[in-house]
Amino acid sequence: MNTGEHIILSAGEKTRRRIFGLVGRSFLFAVTSVAALAVLAIIFFIARDALPFFHEKGVAAFFFSKAWYPAQSPPQFGAAAIFAGSLLVTAAAVVLVVPPGVCAALCMSDILPFNVRQVLKPVIEMLAAIPSVAYGFFALVVLAPLLQNAGGRVLSVAWWVLALPMLALGSVVAADLLSSQRLSETSYRLVRGLLTFLFLALSLVLIVQTGNRLGALQISSGVNALNAAIILGVMALPTIVSVSEDALQAAGRELREGSYALGATRAETLVKVVVPAAISGIFSAILLGVMRALGETMVVWMASGNAAQIPKPWYNLLQPVRTLTATIAGDMGEADQMTGSAHYHVLFAMGLSLLIFSFFCNLAGEWIVARQRKRLRGG
């Protein structure tokens, strides 16, 4: 049968198909652009309401003054303390959660049996499904009284539970990495044993010392930067664990087998081969965690105490702080375009700052991933 007539199209048919194709493609393009346009529109509208504030009050007063008295007449809108509060809470959450989070990801991808991982990962990811107001309620009703009444003890127990296994594991791994395999079998074992013992002893001293110091703490108010940081850390945990674990898995079986084939120990394989290969993924996991913690509103509004101050000294997590997100949420009701325009616009200025910050976080993440990809390709 001759099928030629079906393949060769007439000129009219050709143009029709081309037009249909064009229409289809432009429709798909429009649909795809909606997301990008939405982001641009958000930036535009926030900036439009933020800029009048800078015109009226100046940039320096906003970023460098810490006098936040919106209800005073005349009002003062220095946001330095609020920026510091946001950064402090976020940084503390990240410091608290990254070591255990990345360790957990390593354990799940390389150490624990596959069956355990299959159960553990969904359970950790379930933490992300809890609504943030439930976390906030927990912070206010459970964690805050606990910190007030038995703060020191709770902190020192938490420190022991977290630090003991991590430092013990760290000591073993560090000893393994430091002892040179060029030594003879017996002296290698001896050196490794000695180093392990040394590191373990050092970590034990560190754990006991810090534990005692934490145990002696008196916390006068349970809603403070620490409370918010702990809860934010728990909220960021599933993101960090899950994304890092994916990155570690993606490093591939061949890489690990190659490393073992060259005679590397498990510790060497993990620290010198697998983690470097997955480091960009781990970085993006951490950045995602940072953005989760920075953007969270309800929890910090309920748990941080909302005092517009820079703690003294600045790293004192036991004092209440106020964050950008909580200020926006808490003050929006009072700040009307009609009634208090500077107060209204300052909240948009804060929103814009948050937006710009997470934009740069995102950009940094992309850059790290791109650079890593290039390096892995041998570029």
Binding site: N306, A307, Q309
Partner: protein, 273 residues
């Protein structure tokens, strides 16, 4: 033609009935419980009436009245000059109706030894001049200062009656989002001091005597308790005599209404206008 008119009349009548039978209230979380109880009472008395009460804070209540999204704005403070001006510009004529009196007891943890403070001492505590309970006759314990957030009428009243125009709350003060949250924080924290509406204060916290006078119904009515205030419902213009709005506000002067107000923990207004 007559049929058509009849239909038109019916439709018009329905629309009017609907407009009559719907009432939207917004504003203060302090006045909210009163408005809700009044709404329940009204809806039980005359079924078919539909009343919604939102509690979004006095500032938002004023905003809602300004934008015409509510019939009655509940405020736990007077209108601010800026709000009054904005309403004038938009052609809204705010008329205030006092529906109850409230006092702001200053509350501390039940274990606190201090029985009373003067207004000056409270001001010094809130502005950060006094930071330890031992300076006002208590134990050697640092004071945890808790305030309502600056968005609330409770804060405005406290600021006006205790702190004065110029004073600034110390920067270490915590801000809580509702009266209930303040009580929650105070009852859990040994060194805490806070303030909340009279209706929110129960035996889980201790209300201090101010200048030697304890907050209670009598001291609020005879105005000897210094931190007391009027609770308002604002309408746009004086409501028409037999409109739902007028009837709703008038509940506060009936015996039943006064009972409701007292039950919630506020002090009712007198029956005569």
């Amino acid at each position: 033609m007559r049929k058509l008119l009849l239909v038109a009349g019916l439709v018009g009548g329905c629309a009017m009935a609907q407009a009559q039978d719907k009432l939207v209230l917004d504003g203060s979380t302090t006045v909210g419980p009163i408005a809700k109880a009044f709404a329940e009472y009204t809806m039980r008395q005359s079924p078919g009436v539909n009343i919604t009460v939102s509690e979004s804070g006095s500032g938002n209540g004023a905003k809602a009245l300004l934008n015409g999204t509510c019939d009655i704005a509940n405020l736990s403070r007077h209108l601010k000059d800026t709000e009054r001006k904005a309403m004038e510009e938009k052609g809204v004529k705010p008329v205030s109706h006092v529906v109850a009196y409230d006092a702001l007891p200053v509350i501390v943890h039940p274990s606190n030894k201090v029985k009373g403070l003067t207004i000056e001492q409270i001001r010094d505590i809130y502005t950060g001049k006094i930071t330890n309970w031992k300076d006002v006759g208590g134990l050697d314990q640092s004071i945890v200062v808790i305030s309502r957030d600056t968005n609330s009428g409770t804060f405005e009243t406290f600021k006006e009656l205790v702190l004065g125009k110029e004073a600034k709350i110390c920067e270490g003060a915590e801000y809580a989002g509702s009266n209930g949250a303040v009580r929650q924080r105070v009852q859990m924290t040994n060194g805490a001091i806070g303030y909340a509406g009279l209706g929110f204060v129960d035996h889980s916290v201790k209300a201090l005597e101010i200048n030697g006078i304890a907050p209670c119904t009598t001291t609020v009515v005879d105005k000897t308790y210094p931190i007391s205030r009027e609770l308002f419902m604002f309408t746009n213009g004086e409501p028409k005599a037999d409109s739902l709005v007028a009837k709703f506000i008038a509940i506060s002067r009936t015996e039943k209404g006064r009972e409701i107000v007292e039950e919630i923990g506020f002090v009712p207004v007198s029956e005569k206008k």
